[in-house]
Symmetry: C2
Subunit: 457 residues, 2 copies
Amino acid sequence: MTVSTGMPHPVHHTPGGVPTHWYNVVADLAGYVPQERRPAQRAGSHALRPQLPLSIYRQSVSNEPFIDIPAEVRAEYERWRPTPLVRAHRLERMLRTPARIYYKYEGASPSGSHKLNSAIAQAYYYKKAGVRELVTGTGAGQWGTALAMACTAYDMACTVFMVRCSYDQKPQRRLLMELNGARVIPSPSVTTKAGTSIVADDPECAGSLSVASSEAHEYANEGDGVRYSAGSGDNHVLLHQTVIGQEALAQLEALGDYPDTVVAALGAGSNFAGLTMPFYRDSVTTGRRARLVAVEPKSCPKLTRGVYTWDHHDALGNTPMSKMYTLGHRFIPSPIHAGGLRYHGAAPVISWMYHEGLVDAVAYGQRAVFEAGAAFARAEQVIPAPESAHAIRHVIDRAERARETNTPETILFNLSGHGLMDLGSYEKWMQGLLEEDSVADAEVERALASLSRPAGE
Amino acid sequence: MTVSTGMPHPVHHTPGGVPTHWYNVVADLAGYVPQERRPAQRAGSHALRPQLPLSIYRQSVSNEPFIDIPAEVRAEYERWRPTPLVRAHRLERMLRTPARIYYKYEGASPSGSHKLNSAIAQAYYYKKAGVRELVTGTGAGQWGTALAMACTAYDMACTVFMVRCSYDQKPQRRLLMELNGARVIPSPSVTTKAGTSIVADDPECAGSLSVASSEAHEYANEGDGVRYSAGSGDNHVLLHQTVIGQEALAQLEALGDYPDTVVAALGAGSNFAGLTMPFYRDSVTTGRRARLVAVEPKSCPKLTRGVYTWDHHDALGNTPMSKMYTLGHRFIPSPIHAGGLRYHGAAPVISWMYHEGLVDAVAYGQRAVFEAGAAFARAEQVIPAPESAHAIRHVIDRAERARETNTPETILFNLSGHGLMDLGSYEKWMQGLLEEDSVADAEVERALASLSRPAGE
């Protein structure tokens, strides 16, 4: 099923410990063919022009296992990388578990999450390609914040369509983007035709990443020198995030340890792929094998309850289709507090790996997730972003099982961001006001039924 | 005026770069005699029992220049220390200045500010002395957060009297303390006699650090196994913070640089002393001399407009008196957004040094301060706490002067905390809604006139 692409390629690190290459898992997935199908031009729909500069496009279709990180991007990374790898001794003691728990702390970045790894790289390439403004959609605001910072660094304008329920839940996130020079528009908005049509259908629409993405694509399509920048899902974004896992591998090696299980939350997949794919590479080249577990919210369970089929990346169906696990591009998840996970589909490459049994998935409700996040905060004095708290929920469950069965296990997870902008959500949880989130079977059925089938399927 | 206490004492660092000793500036200040006068017992006032365990008391009156950091405390420090020393290249470019600007980033600590350096040390000593609960007052919440985290680490209870205007301005700060297990009470409260008497005088009282301190002292005095823990001002707190400056000195040396000017905001003095005192030591032992500048808010200008006299540390005058620069212990500053600087007096040792001309001081209004903080955030992608933004205001002024006069200058400042809990204040500034703060001469006169003179003065 999977083959090595040859000799193990030693990943080099700078003396400071920052990787010199990104790792492209596609090179190690025999049988996976990245492809997309362009949508039929429908009345009133937009034919999107290509958004990627050639430099990024080449990365997104590359079959090379390792791709050079430009020196300029590495210099930016060195402002905050390598991020700490921390043994969660206190959490272990609190759980009285024989498990060894490590976390990779991406919240140490200037933007407060892993998202800056790709934002900096993309801004660098777009700037070189002569682009003057980047536009995107953001859920919790982690990606929007990162892109705003990256655009400031490369002297580009930045516009962010922010999912309306997050815009309302997290006014401080908006401010952080504005302080970094970005224009922030709540989505669905009446700024775009896409948003206007969605508001017409549902004036109370909470928004979703797929809707924000439709709006941002339309905005990019109509502006001069404006391009859409993706925060997750696409191959090149997954690629840029692999600095996380490469560092973690080296840091664990320095400690003489190796994980049995590697855990990360999954929105579209960049956080998950960033940590886990270098461990996949390691399994291909050395035979050591870690279990790779994606954690998703019960209210947006694309891997655990979606289907593997062709679908669009945006709510209006204007973007090309990819084969992926999806709940249907019209699926609008309940307004849970982990806004970064409210996306209907999983990255095509992660979807393929899940389909092939190379990665596992599990889903949790948000009350259980916040309980885990608060326990972690008490033990380790770091407030996790609600997205990251999904991973923590699973880690704690495994650690408790390890205690009950008295089986040691080494667990590594991605603490992808801090939750200092999410204290309002924690307060709701503390007060017992947090709604439980799930989604009825009928609703999933309905969403999946609405999937348009492309010609030839 | 000042003499060396002998041979330069090389400060050792652990292999990881964390100092092994705290530096006690008192040892290098010939002529300074730490002393206090106990207040006459007045009707209805409290005779406070000693709050310090012997271990801390010894530190607070020590004449040794270097005091061992216990291995347990160093192990805690190593969780986040050494903190980064960063060259602010982008700020320099933005200002087109020939000045070289460095900042020591204490916001990288788990609590988000320098305060954890002393909180961890104090919790360690109090725990060893059998104390089961610590109580304190906090302004912006930086100290309260740090103490809450430290108490969790040492399994002690924690109660925080939080200045009411900060409690209202920063609900997220309160939450952060609560998530870390602390009980948070807005001050003035009706929980204590001190608070009740102040509320009776002024039901709208915004509170101040001095009022919160009165309440916390009373609470400590009446509880069993409860002690008051000070976040600034006292010698031992200044001492614990000197890890900052010792690290900065070593980090700059590694870069082959040395500051002409070292800048830090001053509330009571621990942030200022933490960065600058090791440079003072360096001037005594090597003759290199950096200008040490304390920056205070115009609305609480104890150094630049206060008097050098005997005064209490708390609003009700129950604590012993020290000789210090003060605006009078009954002075209640306007509710500015840098809550950590709203304290009527300066640390006795810093006051003495200011009086002797060994440190400089300057004051700014909060609009100018937020403007500087926002400019820094845009340039460097770190939102400074409003307290730290005071230092930045002065740094930018110096850097602009360096440009105008074409005189290179090396400036180091303490970025004592991040401002992610203060985005609401930045929003007010962005919207032009931030009140200018200052204090009328008559108000200072009135506050100073109310200073009670101790017997024998």
